[in-house]
């Protein structure tokens, strides 16, 4: 942690934001493994289910991807696993055969009740108040917005 005397002190691991961010995501994901045990879901699969539970309509792969910022290379195999698990259906849109519509099965819908306590349990594991969590959420959301424009703009 002693950064004095280094040629490039800004490169110290503990001086940067990126590492705690990276570590926090992995720690949260690891906690979800425990919390989702019994549902058979991975954390990315859980996120997909969250989006589907929010939606009244079947969603295309692209719209799921826009919501979660994931592309078809990630979603297609993930959705196939959810289909194999019997939680979702994948059907070509009759009105546009390029699109695949993803909808919940009865089992998929039923799973929502089983995970309804997960957010609160995770919150308890994080050791911060609800207000702190919401403030952090907003800061990170802003960060994502900036980074998205930054990377496309500055190349």
């Amino acid at each position: 942690m002693d950064v004095s005397g280094r040629t490039y002190p800004q490169l110290a691991l503990d001086a940067q934001l990126c590492f705690p961010l990276y570590a926090a995501t992995r720690a949260v994901t690891k906690r979800y493994v425990t919390l989702l045990k019994g549902t058979g879901l991975t954390y990315p699969q859980y996120l997909v289910m969250l989006v589907l539970w929010e939606s009244d309509e079947p969603l295309s792969v692209t719209s799921l991807g826009q919501r979660l910022r994931l592309d078809s290379g990630t979603l297609t195999p993930l959705l196939k696993r959810l289909e194999t698990a019997g939680l979702v259906r994948r059907e070509r849109d009759p009105g546009d055969e390029r699109r695949v519509l993803v909808s919940l099965t009865e089992d998929g819908r039923d799973l929502e009740e089983q995970v309804s306590d997960v957010p609160q349990e995770l919150g308890a594991s994080m050791g911060i108040t609800r207000d702190e969590a919401l403030a952090l959420r907003d800061q990170l959301t802003e960060l994502v917005d900036h980074l998205d424009t930054a990377d496309s703009a500055r190349g």
Copy 2:
């Protein structure tokens, strides 16, 4: 985003901290791809190099793993790629043949100067002040500490 009328409003994607955290990490990683282009490093490889640049001594795989919270299943192939790239050496510790000591080559050491502007460039992409970044860093560090104890304690 309208959460009213849902049976489980706490499951709304936008109500939770986990998703912005996950999205922010991926956005940062994506930005690093651009910033590290020319070094040949991936973001996790860059983190390993940060730790090695900080150290005067060769480090074992385990001590690298403790610093970065990564295990040998992740580090071994990553270090082999860094070795192939000519940036590090991997040698068994003569004093304890179980251990593999990782040290920088001349090329590896030289790379530090090439990335010395990366932290500042990333900071500029995030659209937050240095103080905000440091506050965020500290909050996330605390989060990680809590989650680590939570997952081992509550199983």
